[in-house]
């Protein structure tokens, strides 16, 4: 089982005819994801990898019962596309788009909250539920394997690295989710931890965080009450304050969001924090045995 995305998930891809959208639409199909439609205004009637393209999300939902969307449009257009998905009644919207303006991200989240929509991202790689053959987003297909580990992360390639190391160690995943690297994100650590805690198939949770913000500190509070073990890894130990390390959110500002603060909060919360990336898989293995 998975906690987000399953066999019944029918995905519509917005920005489907773009370079990124069309490539990943194909990759998702290859993984087994039920991609039912693409959307690019003005391209109705075309196909991408055999999937029909429509002008509006509304039409894609009407014709194909899409119940998840993945957004590939450029950052400044993402707000419109995401709001269109929400308004069309799509309950899960994964926003791959990078450089979504901060105020747009706030509007997206407020509109989603009003309508009860789950937003993943922006600036995320998406999510993958290996046992359901449901990948919504851009991670490489090869790294996943079905198993008992739930993974939630802020960073993309670091997730690939660590999920790859889990898979290499024979540790498959229930669901892997990227929250995205932006400062204002939809689904957060706590939302996912709650889902993993409830999910009967998830036995251990891997939390991949980084410097900046207080999401990890807030997660630590929740972890205190969890019955399942949490293994954490945090990037940015060597980052100087005041510098934005690639991700909009990865910046130590005004003394908040430091590596030390996060490690001590997570440790206090009962999570085991790996010092180096390759320590994660052994810690997970240990937790599974316990």
């Amino acid at each position: 089982m998975s906690v987000l995305g399953d066999e019944k998930t029918r995905v519509v891809v917005t920005g489907a005819t773009g370079r990124q959208g069309s490539f990943h639409l194909g990759q998702m199909l290859e993984f087994g994801t039920r991609v039912v439609a693409g959307v690019t205004p003005g391209r109705q009637g075309q196909e991408v990898s055999g999937v029909p393209v429509y002008d509006t999300v509304e039409t894609a939902v009407e014709k194909h019962g899409a119940n998840a969307a993945v957004v590939f449009v450029p950052g400044t257009l993402a707000k419109d596309s995401v709001m269109e998905c929400i308004d069309a009644g799509v309950p899960l919207v994964v926003v791959i788009s990078e450089h979504v303006p901060l105020h747009d991200a706030m509007v997206i989240n407020a509109f989603a909250a009003e309508r009860g929509t789950t937003i993943v991202g922006p600036n995320t790689y998406g999510l993958c539920a290996p046992s359901a053959r449901c990948k919504i987003g851009i991670p490489p297909n090869s790294i996943f394997q079905s198993g008992p580990v739930g993974v939630v992360a802020r960073s993309g390639t670091l997730s690939y690295e660590l999920v790859g190391s889990l898979t290499d160690a024979g540790l498959g995943q229930t669901t892997v989710v990227g929250m995205g690297g932006d400062r204002v994100a939809g689904l957060n650590f706590i939302d996912m931890l709650k889902r993993f805690e409830r999910d009967p198939e998830t036995e251990v949770v891997v939390l991949i965080g980084e410097i900046g913000g207080t999401a990890e500190e807030e997660a630590a509070e929740y972890i205190k009450g969890m019955s399942k073990p949490v293994i954490a890894y945090l990037a940015g130990k060597s980052a100087p304050p005041g510098k934005r390390m690639g991700h909009a959110g990865a910046i130590i500002e005004r003394g908040r969001g430091t590596f030390e603060s996060k490690v001590s909060a997570l440790t206090a919360g009962g999570a085991k924090v790996a010092q180096l990336p390759w320590e994660v898989a052994p810690l997970v293995k240990g937790a599974l045995k316990a």
Binding site: P101, I138, S155, T157, G181, R183, K243, G246, R254
Partner: protein
Amino acid sequence: MKLYEYMAKGVLAESGVPIPRGRLCRTPEEAAAACRDLGPVAVKAQVLVGGRGKAGGIKVADTPQAAEAAARQILGMDLKGYTVGSVYCEQKLSISQEIYLSLTFDPSAKRPMLIASASGGMAIEEVPEKAIIKRGIPVAWGLQPYMAYQVARRIGLGATLAREFSDIATKLYRAFVRLDAELVEINPLAVVDGHIMAADARLNVDDDAMARHGDLPKTDEATPLEAKVRALGLAFVQLDGDIAVMANGAGITMATLDVMQHYGGKPMNFLDAGGGSATGPTAEALAILVSTRPKAVLVNIFGGITRCDDVARAIVQVRQNQPAAKDVPLVVRLVGTNEAEGHAILRGAGIDAFRSMQQAAERVVALAGEGLAGAEAARGDTEGDLAG
């Protein structure tokens, strides 16, 4: 993007927020003239870093001569690594109370937030938590006057000042949204002759929204090297070490720096080559890094969309095109799509290629002659974990 104080004040004035009279000056003579017009002035260094007051970047001058002298001292001065290019001469204020007011965003609540304190004038981090009022602002409705009025009363302002505070805060909020700001901070919001005005101002605009603000003046905090690499569209931060680093993805790049530092290496930079499949900008960035003559270079690529053979070819080309690059030790960690082909290409060009991040990090530190693990890792050369 941060705006200079004088730019931020311009935005405030346009938005209807009262500001003291002032003028931007680029020479001591202009400062003297400003003082003749404005009377006694504060001569304030225009820089994008905080704490300029303590660092001697603000001087009060009562006469044109004094203003000229102050400007002469401040202009060209080095403030936390930035050279002062202009001063803002602003009428000297007789301040009876200093209030703190800012608008920013709350990542947890995913909405804007008003922060206020009666303890203005000092950095907000130094104000005790209980003297600070934070008020979340509903995205859909924005900051309404009554919300700001409530906050004003809670920080202890009297009825008249509270009304002025409310008016200023709501105007500021409109500017905050209109300009896609991350932060608008007025500290102090000064009480002068029983009325409130903005005695200082910071305004940071969201970089991701700059496309819709073509009319805003541009400022840049980047070093020349940062400017050069960022022009390629890549995230780049200059650090103070000597091993150049490139990886794809912000998280993995940070982790790469961490791991390298763990083994005693000193990273020269943060460079996120991005997760895309295009190798053009990446190769250019690598070439720029190499041209700065680091002690060594570490490239760490997890190939998803990025194909390892493309990356390998780009690296080989950089080395061939740059005579200088030949002398700089280059360590590459490459896994993922078309990994075997990538390793073969690199080995063909005599470049170290690893599958293990650990080994690659140890090796680059050793090649740079740094770290405790140096001697040991150097031997890793022969047992290089080649792709299978």
